[in-house]
Amino acid sequence: MTYDLQFFYVWQNLDKLGRGVLVSLELTGLANLIGLTAGFAIALMLRARTPVLRVPATALVELFRCTPVLIQVVWFFYCVPILFNLFVDPMVMAVLALGLNLAAFNAEGYRAAIQSVPREQYDACAALGLGGWTRVRHVVLPHALRAALPVLMTNGITIFQQSALVALVAIPDLMYEGKMLSTETYRPIETYTVVAAIYFAISAPISLIVQRIEARFDRVQA
């Protein structure tokens, strides 16, 4: 194969890709905001004794975990407006789709983390007269949030990568700008390679941080 790599056009249009990166980061940030807060609320619902809270939470989590993100994005973009007569900015829909998806996965992360608090810690609390909110605030949550942190961060960067799917519904994120650029310049190989490199350059450091936190966490546990 003799293909002459020409990165010139990509370099010349880096500002466009840059704008795309900002949109992708904005999507990721907002989705994480929803994912971290709604995910926590859903996790509490998952642990509720009453089925009134537990059943809808379980249904929501499983719906998002058991369907492709691509369908979720498309569904929010094309179906929600018509079904619920809700016509809002596409960006809002994209954030909702990604945010709720992340919330579902984070809810599982939070739930597992709360469950990972050792039984003995509750015994110690009872022996020291620590109960109710004091116990939650000073013992259960610090324990659980630490345990959940690596999962939450991993989910958070996964959603950054999955945010590329919103290019399909014409939101000008990094993927979308890349697609446009490759069509304009007839340089798909160079463009997509640079786009991939940008996704990698942003995700990889966070992934490394997660690994460090996990290693540290293992040490502390031992």
Binding site: A126, A127, G129, L130, V220, Q221
Partner: protein, 267 residues
Amino acid sequence: MRPRLFPWRKATETMVQNKLLKIHNLHKSYGDLEIFKGLSLAMDRGDRLVIIGPSGGGKSTLLRIVMGLEDIVGGDVYLDGKPYILRDGGKTKIDHKLQARVGMVFQHYTLFPHLDILRNLTLAPVKTRGTPRAEAEAKAMALLDRFGLAAKARSYPSQLSGGQKQRVAIARALMLDPDLLLFDEVTSALDPELVAEVEAVMMELADQGMPMMIVTHDMHFARNIASRVVFAAGGVVVEDGPPEQVLDNPQVARTREFVERVFARKK
């Protein structure tokens, strides 16, 4: 409880007569497995009870019940003459005011890993007793100092040895000034060379008259620290007496058999 004639007057006489702890006709089971079949046991203020018995015989369960960590099936527990744990309407009722007067040290330390040693000690008094932080910290430092751990006040549990962690756990329990301290196999998870430092702390508390209930596999230590040894098996107390009796000259055949087996293994 017997109604008092002058309820506003502290019933000094009865307080003296009252047993510190009285367990009456205790029943406990896990599913089909009956752990206690009407166990009764009483303890005076000066007592240091060591509970021995076959494994799976419910020694730890007994401590957990006295701490208020377990449901019971029947019977009642009195602390200082007042009803502490009882069955009522199919539920286990625990008087939490009385529960606060009992402290417990666990086999696996159960320190709070995210708090430094000082905060491990002050969390409960500050949050549940409303003790001012400065006061709690002064008390904590005094205790740590006494146990040779003052330098570790700002360390985290993961930075301590097992023996140090267990001494911190004892200090943490002492922060709440318990009337009765329960020790559940506190040296079982420790490397042999660390056992002595924990036992030394317990001996010191014993010398100061702290009432204790101890479950341990260390018969030598049991003999040293106990004022009474209780042999529990088959869901009841089989033999109860001073260590010289229960460990050296058991009166009941079942105790003798157990003690001989344990000491034979040790040698």
